[in-house]
Each structure stands twice: as structure tokens, then as C-alpha cells.
């Protein structure tokens, strides 16, 4: 069985079992060297592993790493923010005013969303109770809503046809155009709006 494909090529991953038998053999059976010949002890003729290079210079750290270390261990970390009494009171007032502003802003945004939601909801409710003639029918004649949107009421399919098609979620997420992903920026483009767009 050929295991050479499993042998790792890097040194630090090489299991010592590949080398150990040779070394053991050398230790157990010392080579009989003639004193006249000064040939070194035979080493392994071939080694796939790389030798660690001896560092010839001292350990040079990247100056950027030094800069990061220096600034992370800066003696002023974290910097104290010292305020006088009146300055602190001013800061506190500004902070409270900001929180108040945020609260009002959020409230306004929520109300706006709620208005839009209720408008949609009222339109859907009107659609659900709408028959073919455009008249509003009673609850018993209309179909279901929500998870039950497909069910029909006493008057069957002639009530709420547009509602049932509006509740369909088919192709809702597949058709979002990529131009819709445009983000708002601080300054307008040089070209302006493309009025000359042709289909």
C-alpha cells in the first residue's frame, strides 16, 4: 500500500515515525568508520522536509505592529473626560435634549408607518367585502381573511375576487429590480435624472 500521498510535506506536520526507524537503526548499529577516512556519518540521502533557517538578524517587528502596540497600551487609555460642574450640567442638558429629540422623531416615524399600515388594512378590508358590482357585502357573505384568505363566503366566488388575488404572494419577491437598491447620497449626481430613458 502506497502511503506516500498521505505524507505531509511541511516540516512541523511531519510525524516523527517516518524518521525514527532510521535514527534508531543508526544508534543501535553504529557505523564502523575507519579512522583514516574523515567522512561524516551517513545521513539520510534525501529528505522532503525543509530545514529551519537560522535567524541571522535579530527579531525585527513590523513598525506598524509596534505602532499599534504603542497606541493600544497608551498610558492615557481610556482617556478621562473631566468636566467642570457647569460644563457637566451643560453636557447633561444637551444629552437630555438629544434623547427627547430622538423620542419625538421615533414617535413620528412610528405614527407614519402606522398610518400607512392602517390605510393598507382598510383598503384590503374593503376589497374583501367587495362583490362584482362594487357593492359592499356583509360579513357572512364575504370570504375569510388572513391565513383563511382563500375560503369563500355565502355568495361564493363573486365576492372578494380582487382580495384573493391581492393576497397572492406569487412572484412578489422575484421581481424586485436592481435599480431599487439605490441608496440616498448627500449630493446629487452630475447627470441628474434620466428623463430620456426609452424602453
Amino acid at each position: 500500500m502506497n502511503l506516500s500521498i498521505f505524507r505531509p510535506t511541511s516540516r512541523h506536520l511531519t510525524p516523527s515515525t517516518f524518521r525514527t526507524p532510521t535514527l534508531l537503526r543508526q544508534n543501535a548499529r553504529p557505523t564502523i568508520s575507519k579512522p583514516t577516512t574523515t567522512t561524516p556519518a551517513p545521513r539520510a540521502p534525501f529528505s522532503a522536509t525543509t530545514f529551519l533557517q537560522k535567524r541571522k538578524t535579530k527579531n525585527l517587528t513590523d513598525p506598524r505592529i509596534t505602532a499599534i502596540r504603542y497606541h493600544l497600551t497608551h498610558p492615557l487609555t481610556p482617556r478621562p473626560l473631566r468636566f467642570s460642574r457647569t460644563r457637566y450640567l451643560r453636557h447633561w442638558t444637551i444629552h437630555r435634549a438629544w434623547l427627547l429629540f430622538l423620542r419625538k422623531q421615533r414617535w413620528t416615524q412610528e405614527r407614519a408607518l402606522e398610518r400607512q399600515y392602517m390605510s393598507m388594512r382598510a383598503a384590503c378590508e374593503a376589497l374583501r367585502l367587495l362583490d362584482d358590482k362594487g357593492n359592499t357585502v356583509s360579513e357572512a357573505e364575504a370570504g375569510g381573511f388572513g391565513a383563511d384568505a382563500g375560503s369563500l363566503g355565502a355568495r361564493g366566488r363573486e365576492v372578494g375576487r380582487l382580495y384573493r388575488s391581492a393576497m397572492s404572494k406569487k412572484k412578489v419577491w422575484g421581481s424586485v429590480p436592481v435599480e431599487y437598491a439605490r441608496a440616498q447620497v448627500d449630493f446629487p449626481s452630475r447627470e441628474g435624472w434620466n428623463h430620456a430613458w426609452m424602453r
Binding site: R79, G134, N135, F145, A166, Q184, H195, W197
Partner: protein, 366 residues
Amino acid sequence: MNAGQQTARRLAARAGRPVCRSCRSRNTYATAAAASAPVEAPIQQAHQAQHTPPVTVAAPSYAINAGVVLSRPPLITRDLHPLEAAFFLYQRRLNERLALPFARYFYFKKKTPADLEWKRKIKQRLTPARDIGRYEGYGEESWNDELLINAPESEIAWQVEQLLQDAEKTGAEGEGAGENSNVPSTETTEAGEKSSTATPVQQGSARKVEHEPIERPMPRITEADEKGDLKSLNRALQRTLYLLVKDREGRWMFPQDKIIGKENLHLAAERILVQSSGLNMNTWIVGNVPIGHHEHNFLPGAAKPVDSTDIGYKTFFMKARIMAGQANLTDNKLGLADFKWLSREEMEKVVEKKYWHSIKNMLAER
């Protein structure tokens, strides 16, 4: 849309309980037969047989319309509230007191031109931030981080100008505030004209310029804004603009038309867009669900088609977005005379009061 409230009342109503009196009086003709509960049915039939005259005409009906709320989303960010602008600047200057010193050697190699330029600039403005004015968060004067009222640093335009100047300038001592901004353009023109007669003075002035000319951003108020061109889509860039059309009677409203046959609201909206304002608009109908509705009852003397039994119409509005192009009403099939792109506030002044009452809730705030 998952309209899931008022469940208990609906369940009770569908279980066969009688309809309330106000509902019964509202649904006069079409629902009179089926609305009543079995218990009440004989009484109500007898009641109707006594008082209603024999029906000679067909039951009244409403035309069902689809309307398209075609909107152009805001293209630029909104103007900051004065409190927001002041607070952000306050926080940025306060941050200079809290932040660690700028790690110059992390960003610039020593003695490179970029490093030298940085040193020159920070000597002038004392802080790494380029748009908060001259202030140092370290040192004796670090407590003095608050700006005075009406300081130029609190203007957004001033901050933008500082960023631009920082990109243009090299921080050299001889550079003036005003003259350097137009040097790149003069250099390019002078290079062609006076290269033959180059004097040491001109060489010195050309050497100062090391940066490419920086493009100024476009103004947030466009030309169409100043002209008041209500048909342009290049105006009111901070606001959502809605397409309003003028119909035969001269009323301003969203484009609308009757639903034909078995088409649903989405398909009807697509058709109405093409039939009213042409093909040359890149639009997208957002969903299948209407975002609002409007009910209109004809006045007793109003002219209407002879064979029609309609006593009014009900319009269901679909949301649509425009990404490019412009409306074109020539040869439109809905008999429209004019169009405008209006923001929410401008629309309120143009449309009828009852119409506005129906549509105001579905429009976005901005």
C-alpha cells in the same frame, strides 16, 4: 395583507349573528337578501314588502377602479434638523478629547511626501479630523471644545468646504486660502501657452500644485427647483414625488381606470401606467396589495353613461416606483390633459379635499 385584528367580532358575525343596525342600513340593496339572520328574515321581508316600491331599475353598483401611485423616491439625504447638526458637531469635537492620539506611523511611512504633508496639515489644524475646525483634544486648551454661537464651523457648507480644501491643498506655508483652489485649472492652461517662455516664477507656481483638481459636489437645490418646473423629476430631491394627472373634468388625481374583465389589481396597474403615461418609464409595481382606497359617489345631476347603473366608483391604489424615464401623455387612452410631479405638501393644495382625505394616509412622510 394579514389583517388580523377584530377577530372575535368577525367570528361572531360569521357564526350567524344578526348584522348591526348601522351595517344593515348601509348595505341597502345588494345585501338585503342575504345579510339578515334566519330568525329576522321573515320580519325584514315583510318590512320591505310594505315600504319599498317595486324595483323597476337594476340595483345600483359602483365602478371598480385601480389607481397607480407612481412615486420617485428621495434621491439625496434629508437636511439635518438644526439640533441634529449641532449635536453631531458637538459629539465630534468631544470625541477628540476621548480618542487616543492619531497613529501616524501606522498610516504613513516616515519621511515620505504623504507623511510630510500630514505633519504640515496637523500643525495647522491641530486635530486629525478635517472638518471640525481648529481644535486640539490634548494639551492646555483641550477643555475649550465648545464652539460659540454662529461660529462658521457649525455650517454644513463650511465643513464640506474644509474637506475639499484638505484634499486640494498640500499644507505648504505659502498656500493661500483662495488662490490655491483655482490653481490646477490655470496651470493646465498656462502650461500650453507659456511653456516656451517659462520663467522661474511660473515654475515656482507650478511646483506648488501637487494634487489633482477636486470636483465640487453638485448643489442639493437643482435648476428645476429654482425654475419651479413641476414636470421635472430632477426637483425636490429630498422628497418623494408623486405623479398626478389632470382628467377630463380638470381634477388632479392619480392615474386611474376601470378594472377590465378578470384582471387583478397588479395587472390593471401595469396597464394603466402604460395607457396613461406611456412606455418610456422604468417602473415597478411594488406588490399585489392596495395601499389605500377612495370611494366617490356621483352627484345627483352628474353626467354619466346612459346604460350604467353606477352611482359612484371605488378606487384601489397600487404603489409603484419610477427608476428612470419621464411621463408622456401624448395619445394617452384615458383622456388625460396634464401631469405634474408633486410632493406630499404640494399635492394637498391641488387635489380635492375629499380625495386628499382618502389618500393622505398612504403617502410617506418624506
